[in-house]
Amino acid sequence: MKGKNIFATRWGIIGVGACIGILAPLLQKLGNPGNMGICVACFERDIAGAIGLHRAAVVQYIRPEIIGFVFGSLIAAYLFKEYRPRVGSAPVVRFVLGTFAMIGALVFLGCPWRAVLRLAGGDGNAILGLLGLTFGIWIGTLFLKNGYNLGRTQTTHTTVGWMLPLIMIGLLVLMLIFPQVEGQDKSGVLFYSLKGPGAMHAPLILSLIVGLGIGFLAQRSRFCTMGAIRDTVLFGQTHLLSGFVSLVVFAFLTNLVLGQFKAGFAGQPVAHTQHVWNFAGMTLAGLAFALAGGCPGRQLFLSGEGDGDAAVFVLGMIVGAGFAHNFGLASSPKGVGPHGIAAVIIGLLVCLFIGFTMRRKSV
Protein backbone atom coordinates (compact mmCIF):
# COMPACT_ATOMS: atom_id res chain seq x y z
CA MET A 1 0.00 0.00 0.00
CA LYS A 2 2.14 2.82 -1.27
CA GLY A 3 1.37 5.88 -3.30
CA LYS A 4 0.36 9.39 -2.41
CA ASN A 5 -0.33 9.86 1.26
CA ILE A 6 -3.56 11.88 1.34
CA PHE A 7 -3.24 12.37 5.10
CA ALA A 8 -0.04 14.34 4.55
CA THR A 9 -1.90 16.97 2.52
CA ARG A 10 -3.31 20.15 4.00
CA TRP A 11 -6.86 18.77 4.01
CA GLY A 12 -5.57 15.48 5.35
CA ILE A 13 -4.07 17.02 8.47
CA ILE A 14 -7.11 19.26 8.96
CA GLY A 15 -9.32 16.16 8.77
CA VAL A 16 -7.21 14.33 11.33
CA GLY A 17 -7.32 17.35 13.67
CA ALA A 18 -11.11 17.41 13.26
CA CYS A 19 -11.39 13.69 14.09
CA ILE A 20 -9.35 14.09 17.26
CA GLY A 21 -11.31 17.25 18.10
CA ILE A 22 -14.58 15.33 17.92
CA LEU A 23 -13.41 12.09 19.54
CA ALA A 24 -11.74 13.63 22.60
CA PRO A 25 -14.84 15.41 23.96
CA LEU A 26 -16.84 12.25 23.16
CA LEU A 27 -14.46 10.23 25.36
CA GLN A 28 -15.12 12.80 28.09
CA LYS A 29 -18.86 12.27 27.58
CA LEU A 30 -18.26 8.52 27.85
CA GLY A 31 -16.54 8.89 31.20
CA ASN A 32 -13.07 10.45 30.89
CA PRO A 33 -12.28 13.40 33.23
CA GLY A 34 -13.27 17.00 32.50
CA ASN A 35 -11.45 18.60 29.56
CA MET A 36 -9.36 15.43 29.57
CA GLY A 37 -10.92 13.38 26.81
CA ILE A 38 -7.33 12.80 25.81
CA CYS A 39 -4.24 13.96 27.64
CA VAL A 40 -1.08 12.08 26.84
CA ALA A 41 0.81 13.36 29.89
CA CYS A 42 -2.07 12.79 32.32
CA PHE A 43 -2.76 9.34 30.92
CA GLU A 44 0.86 8.25 31.15
CA ARG A 45 0.84 9.62 34.70
CA ASP A 46 -2.23 7.48 35.43
CA ILE A 47 -0.40 4.45 34.02
CA ALA A 48 2.56 5.22 36.30
CA GLY A 49 0.12 5.29 39.21
CA ALA A 50 -1.60 2.05 38.23
CA ILE A 51 1.68 0.17 38.34
CA GLY A 52 2.71 1.83 41.58
CA LEU A 53 5.51 4.10 40.36
CA HIS A 54 3.74 6.74 42.41
CA ARG A 55 1.00 6.32 44.95
CA ALA A 56 -1.20 9.36 44.36
CA ALA A 57 -4.51 7.59 44.97
CA VAL A 58 -6.57 9.79 42.65
CA VAL A 59 -4.57 9.19 39.46
CA GLN A 60 -4.16 5.46 38.99
CA TYR A 61 -5.52 3.75 35.88
CA ILE A 62 -3.98 2.04 32.87
CA ARG A 63 -5.31 4.23 30.10
CA PRO A 64 -6.15 2.14 27.03
CA GLU A 65 -5.95 5.24 24.83
CA ILE A 66 -2.15 5.26 25.23
CA ILE A 67 -1.91 1.57 24.31
CA GLY A 68 -4.13 2.30 21.30
CA PHE A 69 -1.99 5.23 20.18
CA VAL A 70 1.10 3.04 19.96
CA PHE A 71 -0.66 0.13 18.27
CA GLY A 72 -2.70 2.24 15.87
CA SER A 73 0.56 3.77 14.69
CA LEU A 74 2.25 0.37 14.50
CA ILE A 75 -0.57 -1.04 12.36
CA ALA A 76 -0.47 1.96 10.02
CA ALA A 77 3.31 1.78 9.77
CA TYR A 78 3.25 -1.92 8.84
CA LEU A 79 0.33 -1.51 6.45
CA PHE A 80 2.03 1.30 4.55
CA LYS A 81 5.52 -0.21 4.82
CA GLU A 82 6.83 2.60 6.99
CA TYR A 83 7.88 0.51 9.98
CA ARG A 84 11.56 1.23 10.38
CA PRO A 85 13.34 0.11 13.54
CA ARG A 86 15.91 2.75 14.50
CA VAL A 87 17.67 3.86 17.63
CA GLY A 88 20.79 5.54 18.93
CA SER A 89 20.14 9.26 18.75
CA ALA A 90 21.09 10.32 22.29
CA PRO A 91 18.59 8.06 24.07
CA VAL A 92 19.60 9.01 27.60
CA VAL A 93 19.14 12.70 26.80
CA ARG A 94 15.68 11.89 25.48
CA PHE A 95 14.93 10.07 28.72
CA VAL A 96 15.87 13.12 30.76
CA LEU A 97 13.89 15.42 28.44
CA GLY A 98 10.88 13.11 28.80
CA THR A 99 11.16 13.22 32.58
CA PHE A 100 11.21 17.01 32.70
CA ALA A 101 8.56 17.36 29.99
CA MET A 102 6.26 15.34 32.23
CA ILE A 103 7.14 17.38 35.31
CA GLY A 104 6.45 20.65 33.45
CA ALA A 105 3.18 19.31 32.08
CA LEU A 106 2.05 18.21 35.54
CA VAL A 107 2.76 21.66 36.98
CA PHE A 108 0.32 23.02 34.39
CA LEU A 109 -1.88 19.89 34.62
CA GLY A 110 -1.88 18.79 31.01
CA CYS A 111 0.15 18.21 27.89
CA PRO A 112 -0.34 20.30 24.70
CA TRP A 113 -3.26 18.05 23.74
CA ARG A 114 -5.07 18.75 26.96
CA ALA A 115 -4.09 22.44 26.84
CA VAL A 116 -6.14 22.88 23.68
CA LEU A 117 -8.93 20.61 24.95
CA ARG A 118 -9.07 22.76 28.09
CA LEU A 119 -9.26 25.86 25.91
CA ALA A 120 -12.00 24.26 23.83
CA GLY A 121 -13.89 23.52 27.05
CA GLY A 122 -13.72 27.17 28.13
CA ASP A 123 -10.85 26.93 30.64
CA GLY A 124 -9.10 30.32 30.46
CA ASN A 125 -6.06 29.01 32.35
CA ALA A 126 -5.20 27.07 29.22
CA ILE A 127 -4.35 30.37 27.51
CA LEU A 128 -1.46 30.82 29.95
CA GLY A 129 -0.40 27.23 29.35
CA LEU A 130 -0.46 27.64 25.58
CA LEU A 131 1.49 30.91 25.80
CA GLY A 132 4.06 29.15 27.96
CA LEU A 133 4.18 26.24 25.54
CA THR A 134 4.80 28.60 22.63
CA PHE A 135 7.50 30.43 24.59
CA GLY A 136 9.24 27.16 25.45
CA ILE A 137 9.11 25.98 21.85
CA TRP A 138 10.41 29.36 20.69
CA ILE A 139 13.45 28.93 22.96
CA GLY A 140 13.85 25.48 21.43
CA THR A 141 13.86 26.93 17.91
CA LEU A 142 16.70 29.27 18.89
CA PHE A 143 18.78 26.22 19.81
CA LEU A 144 17.76 24.48 16.57
CA LYS A 145 18.86 27.53 14.58
CA ASN A 146 22.21 27.41 16.31
CA GLY A 147 22.97 23.83 15.43
CA TYR A 148 21.38 21.92 18.31
CA ASN A 149 20.74 18.31 17.37
CA LEU A 150 20.50 14.89 18.94
CA GLY A 151 22.67 13.12 16.38
CA ARG A 152 21.84 10.39 13.91
CA THR A 153 19.91 7.22 14.52
CA GLN A 154 20.97 3.83 13.22
CA THR A 155 18.88 1.12 11.70
CA THR A 156 18.53 -1.77 14.07
CA HIS A 157 16.75 -5.08 14.72
CA THR A 158 12.98 -5.19 14.32
CA THR A 159 12.76 -6.30 17.95
CA VAL A 160 14.16 -2.98 19.17
CA GLY A 161 11.25 -1.12 17.63
CA TRP A 162 8.85 -3.62 19.17
CA MET A 163 9.93 -2.95 22.76
CA LEU A 164 7.43 -0.18 23.57
CA PRO A 165 4.56 -1.91 21.73
CA LEU A 166 5.35 -5.06 23.75
CA ILE A 167 5.37 -3.08 26.98
CA MET A 168 1.95 -1.75 25.96
CA ILE A 169 0.71 -5.29 25.35
CA GLY A 170 2.02 -6.18 28.79
CA LEU A 171 0.00 -3.34 30.33
CA LEU A 172 -3.14 -4.42 28.49
CA VAL A 173 -2.69 -8.03 29.59
CA LEU A 174 -2.22 -6.92 33.21
CA MET A 175 -5.42 -4.93 32.92
CA LEU A 176 -7.32 -7.96 31.61
CA ILE A 177 -5.90 -10.31 34.27
CA PHE A 178 -6.49 -7.81 37.07
CA PRO A 179 -9.60 -5.84 36.08
CA GLN A 180 -11.03 -3.11 38.23
CA VAL A 181 -13.12 -4.41 41.11
CA GLU A 182 -15.95 -2.16 42.27
CA GLY A 183 -14.99 -0.36 45.47
CA GLN A 184 -11.46 -1.85 45.60
CA ASP A 185 -8.33 0.29 45.22
CA LYS A 186 -6.21 -2.68 44.22
CA SER A 187 -6.73 -5.61 41.90
CA GLY A 188 -3.84 -8.06 41.83
CA VAL A 189 -0.72 -5.99 41.23
CA LEU A 190 -2.56 -2.99 39.79
CA PHE A 191 -3.74 0.10 41.64
CA TYR A 192 -7.06 1.71 40.78
CA SER A 193 -8.46 5.08 41.84
CA LEU A 194 -11.73 5.11 43.77
CA LYS A 195 -12.18 8.84 43.31
CA GLY A 196 -10.60 11.71 41.36
CA PRO A 197 -9.62 11.79 37.68
CA GLY A 198 -8.19 8.25 37.84
CA ALA A 199 -11.64 6.91 38.68
CA MET A 200 -13.17 8.57 35.65
CA HIS A 201 -12.81 6.66 32.42
CA ALA A 202 -14.68 5.62 29.32
CA PRO A 203 -15.29 1.87 28.85
CA LEU A 204 -12.01 0.04 28.18
CA ILE A 205 -12.96 -1.23 24.74
CA LEU A 206 -14.13 2.19 23.50
CA SER A 207 -11.00 3.91 24.83
CA LEU A 208 -8.89 1.31 23.08
CA ILE A 209 -10.73 1.61 19.76
CA VAL A 210 -10.56 5.40 19.76
CA GLY A 211 -6.88 5.20 20.68
CA LEU A 212 -6.21 2.80 17.82
CA GLY A 213 -8.06 5.03 15.35
CA ILE A 214 -6.22 8.17 16.42
CA GLY A 215 -2.89 6.33 16.45
CA PHE A 216 -3.51 5.17 12.90
CA LEU A 217 -4.52 8.61 11.61
CA ALA A 218 -1.75 10.40 13.46
CA GLN A 219 0.91 8.08 12.05
CA ARG A 220 -0.33 8.72 8.52
CA SER A 221 -0.64 12.49 8.96
CA ARG A 222 2.43 13.03 11.24
CA PHE A 223 0.13 15.00 13.56
CA CYS A 224 2.21 16.83 16.18
CA THR A 225 1.10 19.60 18.51
CA MET A 226 4.63 20.80 19.30
CA GLY A 227 5.63 20.62 15.63
CA ALA A 228 2.60 22.75 14.79
CA ILE A 229 3.99 25.66 16.78
CA ARG A 230 7.67 24.92 16.05
CA ASP A 231 7.29 24.81 12.27
CA THR A 232 5.32 28.04 12.30
CA VAL A 233 7.95 29.83 14.40
CA LEU A 234 10.98 28.24 12.73
CA PHE A 235 10.00 28.10 9.05
CA GLY A 236 6.69 29.99 8.77
CA GLN A 237 5.33 26.60 7.71
CA THR A 238 1.69 26.23 8.84
CA HIS A 239 0.98 22.69 7.65
CA LEU A 240 0.90 21.04 11.10
CA LEU A 241 -0.62 24.14 12.65
CA SER A 242 -3.72 23.77 10.49
CA GLY A 243 -4.31 20.33 12.07
CA PHE A 244 -3.80 21.74 15.55
CA VAL A 245 -6.22 24.63 14.95
CA SER A 246 -8.72 22.21 13.43
CA LEU A 247 -8.55 20.17 16.64
CA VAL A 248 -9.38 23.24 18.76
CA VAL A 249 -12.26 24.32 16.52
CA PHE A 250 -13.89 20.89 16.33
CA ALA A 251 -13.37 20.19 20.04
CA PHE A 252 -15.01 23.54 20.82
CA LEU A 253 -18.00 22.76 18.58
CA THR A 254 -18.34 19.23 19.97
CA ASN A 255 -18.21 20.58 23.53
CA LEU A 256 -20.99 23.06 22.64
CA VAL A 257 -23.14 20.27 21.22
CA LEU A 258 -22.52 18.01 24.23
CA GLY A 259 -23.06 20.83 26.75
CA GLN A 260 -19.48 20.55 28.01
CA PHE A 261 -18.41 24.16 27.37
CA LYS A 262 -18.04 26.30 30.49
CA ALA A 263 -16.07 29.54 30.17
CA GLY A 264 -14.02 30.89 33.07
CA PHE A 265 -10.83 30.61 35.09
CA ALA A 266 -11.94 29.42 38.53
CA GLY A 267 -13.43 26.04 39.25
CA GLN A 268 -12.35 24.41 36.00
CA PRO A 269 -11.91 20.63 36.10
CA VAL A 270 -8.43 19.39 37.08
CA ALA A 271 -6.92 22.88 36.78
CA HIS A 272 -5.49 25.63 38.98
CA THR A 273 -5.37 29.39 38.51
CA GLN A 274 -1.73 30.18 39.32
CA HIS A 275 -1.02 31.91 36.03
CA VAL A 276 2.74 32.25 36.40
CA TRP A 277 3.18 28.54 37.05
CA ASN A 278 0.72 27.49 34.38
CA PHE A 279 2.91 29.50 32.01
CA ALA A 280 6.26 28.32 33.39
CA GLY A 281 5.25 24.66 33.64
CA MET A 282 4.34 24.62 29.98
CA THR A 283 7.45 26.61 29.06
CA LEU A 284 9.48 23.75 30.49
CA ALA A 285 7.33 21.13 28.74
CA GLY A 286 7.44 23.02 25.43
CA LEU A 287 11.21 23.40 25.54
CA ALA A 288 11.69 19.72 26.40
CA PHE A 289 9.34 18.62 23.60
CA ALA A 290 11.09 20.93 21.13
CA LEU A 291 14.53 19.61 22.08
CA ALA A 292 13.23 16.04 21.80
CA GLY A 293 11.59 16.67 18.42
CA GLY A 294 7.98 15.87 19.18
CA CYS A 295 4.97 16.35 21.43
CA PRO A 296 4.05 13.49 23.79
CA GLY A 297 1.53 12.14 21.32
CA ARG A 298 4.00 12.21 18.45
CA GLN A 299 6.55 10.35 20.61
CA LEU A 300 4.00 7.54 21.03
CA PHE A 301 3.27 7.46 17.28
CA LEU A 302 6.98 7.44 16.46
CA SER A 303 7.47 4.60 18.93
CA GLY A 304 4.80 2.65 17.06
CA GLU A 305 6.67 3.02 13.76
CA GLY A 306 9.90 1.67 15.22
CA ASP A 307 11.64 4.70 16.74
CA GLY A 308 13.36 3.32 19.82
CA ASP A 309 14.54 6.78 20.88
CA ALA A 310 10.99 8.10 21.01
CA ALA A 311 10.16 5.03 23.12
CA VAL A 312 12.88 6.06 25.58
CA PHE A 313 11.29 9.52 25.77
CA VAL A 314 7.94 7.89 26.58
CA LEU A 315 9.52 5.81 29.35
CA GLY A 316 11.17 9.00 30.62
CA MET A 317 7.74 10.62 30.82
CA ILE A 318 6.29 7.69 32.77
CA VAL A 319 9.19 7.73 35.21
CA GLY A 320 8.92 11.52 35.38
CA ALA A 321 5.31 11.11 36.51
CA GLY A 322 6.57 8.91 39.32
CA PHE A 323 8.97 11.63 40.46
CA ALA A 324 6.33 14.33 40.00
CA HIS A 325 3.97 12.72 42.50
CA ASN A 326 6.50 11.11 44.85
CA PHE A 327 8.40 14.40 45.27
CA GLY A 328 5.37 16.70 45.45
CA LEU A 329 6.13 18.39 42.13
CA ALA A 330 2.75 17.93 40.44
CA SER A 331 0.05 20.53 40.87
CA SER A 332 -3.47 19.87 42.06
CA PRO A 333 -6.64 21.98 41.71
CA LYS A 334 -5.42 23.76 44.90
CA GLY A 335 -2.28 24.98 43.13
CA VAL A 336 1.32 24.00 42.57
CA GLY A 337 2.86 21.22 44.64
CA PRO A 338 5.31 21.98 47.48
CA HIS A 339 8.36 21.48 45.26
CA GLY A 340 6.85 22.18 41.85
CA ILE A 341 8.48 25.58 41.46
CA ALA A 342 11.97 24.25 42.27
CA ALA A 343 11.46 21.42 39.79
CA VAL A 344 10.46 23.81 36.99
CA ILE A 345 13.56 25.92 37.57
CA ILE A 346 15.85 22.88 37.68
CA GLY A 347 14.15 21.46 34.58
CA LEU A 348 14.66 24.70 32.65
CA LEU A 349 18.33 24.77 33.64
CA VAL A 350 18.80 21.17 32.53
CA CYS A 351 17.09 21.86 29.19
CA LEU A 352 19.22 24.97 28.63
CA PHE A 353 22.36 22.98 29.45
CA ILE A 354 21.35 20.34 26.88
CA GLY A 355 20.46 22.98 24.32
CA PHE A 356 23.71 24.90 24.71
CA THR A 357 26.06 21.94 24.82
CA MET A 358 24.66 19.62 22.13
CA ARG A 359 25.56 21.77 19.19
CA ARG A 360 27.47 20.79 16.16
CA LYS A 361 27.46 22.67 12.92
CA SER A 362 28.05 19.68 10.70
CA VAL A 363 26.46 16.35 11.49
Partner: protein
Protein backbone atom coordinates in the same frame (compact mmCIF):
# COMPACT_ATOMS: atom_id res chain seq x y z
CA UNK B 1 27.56 20.51 -10.15
CA UNK B 2 25.12 19.08 -7.65
CA UNK B 3 24.97 19.68 -3.91
CA UNK B 4 24.15 16.71 -1.72
CA UNK B 5 22.57 16.97 1.71
CA UNK B 6 22.75 13.77 3.72
CA UNK B 7 19.95 13.92 6.27
CA UNK B 8 19.69 10.18 6.83
CA UNK B 9 19.24 9.18 10.44
CA UNK B 10 18.32 12.68 11.49
CA UNK B 11 14.89 13.32 12.88
CA UNK B 12 12.48 16.14 12.33
CA UNK B 13 13.17 19.08 11.90
CA UNK B 14 16.88 18.57 11.07
CA UNK B 15 16.38 17.43 7.45
CA UNK B 16 14.28 20.52 6.72
CA UNK B 17 16.75 22.86 8.43
CA UNK B 18 19.62 21.39 6.39
CA UNK B 19 17.62 21.57 3.16
CA UNK B 20 16.66 25.21 3.72
CA UNK B 21 20.27 26.07 4.60
CA UNK B 22 21.46 24.58 1.33
CA UNK B 23 18.73 26.34 -0.67
CA UNK B 24 19.52 29.71 0.90
CA UNK B 25 23.30 29.54 1.23
CA UNK B 26 24.49 26.99 -1.29
CA UNK B 27 25.72 27.95 -4.73
CA UNK B 28 24.55 24.88 -6.65
CA UNK B 29 21.31 25.02 -8.59
CA UNK B 30 20.63 21.32 -8.30
CA UNK B 31 20.28 19.80 -4.84
CA UNK B 32 19.98 16.18 -3.78
CA UNK B 33 18.66 15.40 -0.30
CA UNK B 34 18.99 11.91 1.15
CA UNK B 35 16.47 10.98 3.84
CA UNK B 36 15.46 7.73 5.48
CA UNK B 37 11.87 8.18 6.59
CA UNK B 38 8.65 8.94 4.75
CA UNK B 39 8.01 11.80 7.15
CA UNK B 40 11.31 13.42 6.20
CA UNK B 41 10.58 12.83 2.51
CA UNK B 42 7.27 14.67 2.83
CA UNK B 43 8.70 17.47 4.96
CA UNK B 44 11.72 18.08 2.72
CA UNK B 45 9.58 18.03 -0.44
CA UNK B 46 7.11 20.43 1.13
CA UNK B 47 9.90 22.76 2.29
CA UNK B 48 11.60 22.78 -1.11
CA UNK B 49 8.33 23.54 -2.89
CA UNK B 50 7.57 26.34 -0.41
CA UNK B 51 10.89 27.93 -1.43
CA UNK B 52 9.83 27.86 -5.07
CA UNK B 53 12.07 24.93 -5.98
CA UNK B 54 11.04 22.42 -8.61
CA UNK B 55 11.12 18.86 -7.30
CA UNK B 56 12.36 16.73 -10.19
CA UNK B 57 12.49 13.28 -8.72
CA UNK B 58 11.84 11.33 -5.55
CA UNK B 59 13.30 7.86 -5.84
CA UNK B 60 13.88 5.05 -3.33
CA UNK B 61 17.50 4.66 -2.34
CA UNK B 62 18.70 2.09 0.14
CA UNK B 63 16.25 2.15 3.00
CA UNK B 64 15.23 5.73 2.29
CA UNK B 65 14.75 8.21 -0.51
CA UNK B 66 16.74 10.46 -2.78
CA UNK B 67 14.99 13.77 -3.47
CA UNK B 68 16.29 15.84 -6.37
CA UNK B 69 15.20 19.41 -6.97
CA UNK B 70 16.38 22.58 -8.67
CA UNK B 71 16.46 26.13 -7.38
CA UNK B 72 14.62 28.71 -9.43
Amino acid sequence: MVATVDARGLSCPQPVIMTLDEIKKGSEKEIIVLVDTDTSKENVTRAAESQGCKVNEVSPEGEGYRITFTKE
